[in-house]
Amino acid sequence: MSALPGPAAGEAPPRDTTRPLAFLPAARGVFGLALEGMVWSRRSLLMAVLLGLPVVFALLYRGFLVAKVPARVTGLDLYAIIVAVYYVRNVLPLAALFYATSLIADEVEGRTLTYLLTRPLPRPAILAGKFAAYLGTTLALTLPALVATFLLLATARGFAGIGTAVPELFRDMGVVALALASYGALFTLLGVVLRRPVIPGLLFLFVWELVVHIPGYLPRLTLTGWLGSLVHHQPAEEGLAGLFQRQVLPVGEGLVVLLAASALFLALSVWVFSRREYVMEQ
């Protein structure tokens, strides 16, 4: 059977100039361009420091503190606090806030959005490519730090029990990805709707999200409530357990809510971005 005629290896197929580029190639093109700009930005340098701080703490713990901390507080307990309180509750939402609100705002401020809007790209693909670049950048900064922190803390007093803890690490990696996706989608929406989205974003994080501590139905209206419930391990030590939220929401429901919220926020962002005019003046 002879091969169908088509472009030779390495050659692009003929361009169809009667329609915009297909969604995936368009988003991939924007992703590549945005990723390079994001990875080498000052914002990423700052975030690398913030997201990498637990590694520094874990090194200090192994080097100096492990002998001074009571044996009943294990390295895994400290790791659990870092995941739930440092990463999921504070730094990941902040990373999402600073990256996602600026996905389009940076292009508007730099007045480079003109170049993207005058290419045959569907606007949803522009936003999708930039959102994927945000997720790629933040995951690339967070996951290695998370794994390093886990390994340093979990093995501080030896390797006993590490085998049973490894599945928790994978679960935490999933929670980190979900946190970045859900907060990122919300802040992308704020970024395309509002001219100055950072203050409303901070208010959401550090005012609205506090309702997670109120008993009743309200924690279900927060992202942190659902995300916190996905972080499985709770330290046995009572004093440390107090740092965690009291109300644990159903895990399965949490996954559905977070994925649905992410999809909804992204869909709304695309809808707004596709209809909005951007006036860039000299």
Partner: protein, 306 residues
């Protein structure tokens, strides 16, 4: 047959400010100069054509489709925006290849087209330097290169030669004329009459958001020639210069600056005045010359008042 770019009673306002007012015009293939003073509505005219803005009223059609919301048109349309904005961390070559990739070309073709476009604007030698390190003129040229790299049928150029040195200005003017000869539709905006005049004879005169006139640039030139034209010259010996030019029948008035270095001449025939000037300028040691009328502001005031 419809024109590649058409405005049908198109208006655009920003809040209470009218930037473009009930414009109906069809732009045919070839080079069309969009001529008007700063703030006349030139950029809004081009942004509507490029689909960056939607008309508040009326319609703008580009290649037979509504310009707003037709991204597919950008396979065949290039825009050189007025804003001086780039992804500064990219080299000139990377900047162009990235944009060509977003236009749907394969890697090999992206590279070839980018190199060719950079060559056309004489930036090939600087292709591997970061755009952030380019001079103002080079930035203008790389901006132009990205607009032509995909060989568009319609080219929208917003003040393309602003900030360029005379040699590159000439090069870009020749490039624009060449594209016009090739049958492409080129709209080039400027507030400098002689810039547009060097590229085309077909102009749209725009002022206060309205198309005042459309036609041959020579008619504008004739109107200009009727309009008293002011030229200021700085010279080592302005009195010698005054003696040399006062004999010309086209000089209407002369005045000296308070610092004793400047001479301001009002002439009814600027072309003849300029052609007669060099010899006297050398003798009087002219070091600077400018015309406040070059920006067309006064010409437009004159035309509107007629």
């Amino acid at each position: 047959m419809t024109a590649p770019l058409e405005y049908a009673r198109a208006s655009r306002w920003y809040g209470p400010v009218i930037a473009l007012n009930d414009v109906s015009v069809a732009v045919p293939p070839g080079v069309t100069g969009l001529l008007g003073p700063n703030g006349a509505g030139k950029s809004t005219f081009l942004k509507l054509a490029a689909g960056l803005l939607a008309p508040s009223q009326g319609e703008v059609r580009l290649l037979g489709r509504p310009a707003w919301g037709s991204p597919e048109a950008f396979h065949r349309v290039g825009l050189c925006p007025e804003v001086d904005a780039f992804w500064e961390h990219l080299t000139g070559l990377e900047f162009l290849t990235a944009l060509l990739r977003l236009t749907g070309f394969g890697e090999k073709e992206c590279r070839e087209r980018a190199e060719n476009a950079l060559h056309q604007v004489a930036l090939h030698d600087a292709k591997d330097r970061k755009v952030g390190g380019y001079s103002k003129g080079m930035r203008q040229r790389v901006k132009l290169a990205q607009s032509i790299a995909h060989d568009p049928d319609v080219l929208l150029l917003d003040e393309p030669v602003s900030g360029m040195d005379p040699v590159n200005r000439r090069r870009v003017i020749d490039l624009v004329k060449k594209m016009g000869r090739e049958g492409k539709t080129v709209v080039v905006s400027s507030h400098i009459l002689h810039e547009v005049e060097a590229m085309t004879r077909r102009v749209l005169l725009i002022h206060n958001g309205r198309i005042l006139a459309e036609g041959d640039v020579r008619e504008i030139r004739d109107l200009m020639d009727e309009h008293p034209h002011t030229v200021s010259l700085r010279a080592r010996d302005p009195r010698h210069l005054a003696r040399a030019v006062v004999a010309s029948p086209h000089v209407l008035s002369l005045s000296f600056g308070a610092d004793g270095e400047w001479l301001t001449v009002q002439t009814a025939r600027p072309d003849e005045f300029y052609s007669a000037l060099p010899e006297a300028a050398v003798e009087a040691g002219v070091t600077e010359m400018y015309s406040p009328d070059e920006d067309l502001e006064s010409v437009f005031r004159y035309l509107v008042a007629r």
